[in-house]
């Protein structure tokens, strides 16, 4: 019985009414949707609602507990801010796709069974592909197709996993799964594709920067964080996740340092930040799961804020490459300040949101004495400050003066960024508010003198390193170039595969075709026109080949001439004339043979 409106449904249904409305009414409608959905959410009590029976299964659309609520809250907040941010752009299609996408993410977070989770999961892919395509450039359309292929591949793996899992366990309930049994491995991998694990990550850095200004802000919030949620729900304490997450925090920062497209830099740092959450899930203690949830909450805010600020730059200048930008603080001071707030938050400066969330995961890692992981996480913290904290604001707003003098971002964008920035500072300054909504009771104190000092040292000396490297011109200058990543495998691999099909394989196929259907039948036809002569020619040829050395030159010459003569008027007269007597003798010979066979076989039978 459904006695509540499942969270997410308001977004999904609401999305379809967007194009029917115009102007102010549409704006008000768009802003009201997340508010309405949020009010609906907080009035649903914790527990399981919205259960319907489907075949033999229980489909649960609304499972409210403390874990899902963290994601539910932040998804609503960010959907509201993103809509506010884009409201001046009047892009019906993007709002439709974005609302649908956000609604599916919320639906996935609150679904209590694997079937509805899978449905929302796949619908999210559709929504996000539409957001990527909305840019309508050739690049974005291609990137959207690649994104769709990767995610549908991941979806199929997930579906296989769900089928196997439900067969193995006789239940489709979505709770703790853990790595046991074949089905769980498939599910694990399917979640991993959306979580942008190393080697599965390049759909993210490939597609996100190709979407629209608004689209990228939407995209940055939902897909990976939904994957983090499902992993936290179903695979907490899975040790593999510690290593996967550790790798995720480390490798993207190297790419981010040399990347020119600033939204791609942010995409790499997104993977890095999700890495912290994945490590938290892998550790699996109450502190680390709290850390993952808190970090997801904080991360969605500051990452969206950073994407919003870069979007505002793109909106005003039409450019996003570091080589084309610089010096924008002059004319976009507010955007610049908001960007710096986002940068300080992602870098985990004390009093900003990253500081109170990321450190929970790191403390959890230290508690478990995971030395390699801990060193990597500290390295990644310094690294993320380096590329997201410094590089993004520096190359966009400071650095060399690009000469661009533009206007400040539109008011609604400023308000959206301002709210996001205020929330980042609020969470950083008053972490208790965030800690109160976490899944487990928190007794973690982020603001100890020791912690603040060590974090400040780490960050200030990272900044020092950047400054010295920049002043000494060792810092890699921005270059108009792209950097290949693992997507090279399928982007070049696919065209290589096509080349292989079109060239060697096609040639081989043609050879087989001509041999089997043309050359061999023709040879048979030729042979059957006069088999006797054909055999004679063949015999002569073989004779020459075998005995050429022992024959005299004249004899060889004679045989060759004869072959040539015969072949010239081949098939010639195919009928062999002979005397009637010869035929009779042959016939008698055969009859005699029959007789002998008859007698002999009769004897043997007896």
């Amino acid at each position: 019985m459904i006695n509540v409106i499942p969270p997410g449904l308001i977004f999904i249904i609401g999305a379809f009414f967007v194009p029917l409305l115009k102007g102010r009414v549409q704006s008000v409608y768009l802003l009201l949707l997340p508010v309405l959905s949020f009010v609906n959410l907080i009035y649903i009590s914790e527990g399981t609602h919205g259960v319907i029976s489907f075949l033999d299964y229980q489909i649960i659309f609304c499972r409210i507990d403390r874990l899902s609520l963290v994601w539910g809250y932040i998804f609503h907040i960010i959907a509201f801010l993103t809509i506010l941010y884009g409201i001046n752009m009047k892009k019906d299609n993007e709002f439709m796709a974005g609302l649908f996408y956000a609604g599916c993410a919320i639906g996935a977070v609150f679904s209590g069974d694997l079937i509805s989770l899978f449905c929302f999961w796949e619908m999210m892919t559709i929504g996000s592909v539409l957001l990527i395509w909305a840019r309508k450039t050739r690049k974005s359309i291609n990137a959207g197709f690649r994104y769709a292929l990767v995610h549908f591949f991941g979806g199929v793996i997930l579906l296989v996993g769900i089928i196997l899992y439900s067969y193995e366990n006789g239940s489709i309930e979505f709770g703790y799964i853990g790595l046991s049994g074949l089905g769980s491995y498939f599910i694990f991998f399917g979640f991993g594709v959306n979580c942008a694990w190393p080697f599965l990550h390049s759909w993210l850095t490939d597609a996100y920067p190709e979407s629209t200004i608004l689209g990228t802000v939407f995209l940055s919030a939902f897909t990976t964080k939904t994957a983090v949620y499902v992993l936290a729900r179903s695979f907490p304490g899975t040790e593999a996740l510690i290593w996967i997450g550790t790798l995720m925090t480390a490798f993207p920062i190297f790419f981010a340092v040399i990347e020119n497209d600033l939204r791609r830099v942010l995409s790499y740092s997104l993977i890095n930040q999700v890495g912290f959450m994945v490590v938290g899930i892998g550790i699996g203690t109450e502190l680390s799961i709290n850390g993952t949830a808190a970090h997801a909450f904080a991360h969605i805010l500051y990452k969206s804020l950073l994407f919003m600020s870069m979007g505002a730059v793109m909106y005003r200048t039409g450019k996003i490459n570091a080589t084309d930008l610089g010096g924008l603080y002059r004319t976009m001071p507010l955007t610049c300040i908001f960007c710096i707030v986002g940068a300080a938050s992602i870098s985990a400066f004390p009093l900003f949101s990253g500081f109170v969330s990321k450190s929970m995961v790191m403390s959890a890692a230290a508690d478990k004495h995971l030395i390699i992981t801990w060193f990597t996480l500290v390295f990644a913290s310094a690294g993320v400050f380096h590329h997201s904290g410094i590089k993004i604001p520096f190359f966009a707003f400071f650095g060399h003066d690009s000469g661009i003098r533009t206007k400040e971002a539109p008011l609604n964008m400023l308000i959206a960024m301002g709210i996001a920035a205020a929330l980042c500072i609020f969470i950083g300054a008053f972490p208790a508010t965030l800690y109160n909504i976490l899944p487990f009771p928190v007794d973690y104190v982020p603001y100890t003198m020791s912690h603040v000092m060590s974090q400040l040292q780490l960050l200030m000396f990272s900044a020092l390193a950047f400054t010295l490297l920049y002043l000494s011109a060792i810092y890699p200058s921005e270059i108009r170039a792209i950097n290949v990543d693992i997507d090279w495998l399928y982007r070049k691999g696919a065209s290589g595969f096509l080349w292989l099909l079109n060239n060697p394989l096609a040639w081989f196929g043609n050879q087989v075709k001509t041999t089997v259907f043309i050359t061999i039948p023709q040879a048979f036809v030729w042979f059957s026109r006069n088999p006797l002569v054909a055999l004679k020619v063949a015999g002569n040829n073989i004779t020459i080949a075998l005995f050429e050395e022992s024959f005299t030159k004249e004899k060889v010459e004679r045989i060759r001439t004869r072959i040539a003569e015969v072949l010239t008027d081949y098939p010639g007269d195919a009928i062999r004339y002979s005397h009637v007597g010869t035929t009779v003798i042959w016939a008698m010979g055969f009859l005699l043979a029959y007789l002998i066979i008859y007698i002999v076989s009769g004897r043997i039978a007896l």
Binding site: F254, H386, F398, M453, Q457, L458, M460, T467
Partner: protein
């Protein structure tokens, strides 16, 4: 002449740099007077985080510039 902005004046850039260097120095000094609550023994070494942050960033940049970029850099129309 066009309007002068904050960092068009080299003096302001200098002030910012002095603030950064001064801040780093101050942190190193304060560091000696702070009781450290540490999980690992090396966290108690003076200036561990400062040194690690600095070395990590220099290493990161050098590795990215001289190794990774050599391997992965392509022209902008590489995939077209």
């Amino acid at each position: 002449m066009s309007k002068k902005y904050l960092f068009d004046n080299p003096r302001n850039v200098k002030i910012l740099l002095i603030l950064l260097f001064g801040g780093c120095l101050a942190l190193v000094i304060i560091n000696f007077f702070v009781h450290k609550h540490a999980h690992f023994s090396w966290e108690e070494w003076s200036g561990f985080y400062a040194a690690y942050g600095f070395v990590a960033c220099v290493g990161l940049v050098l590795a990215a510039k001289f190794i990774l970029r050599k391997i992965v850099k392509r022209s902008e129309d590489y995939y077209d």
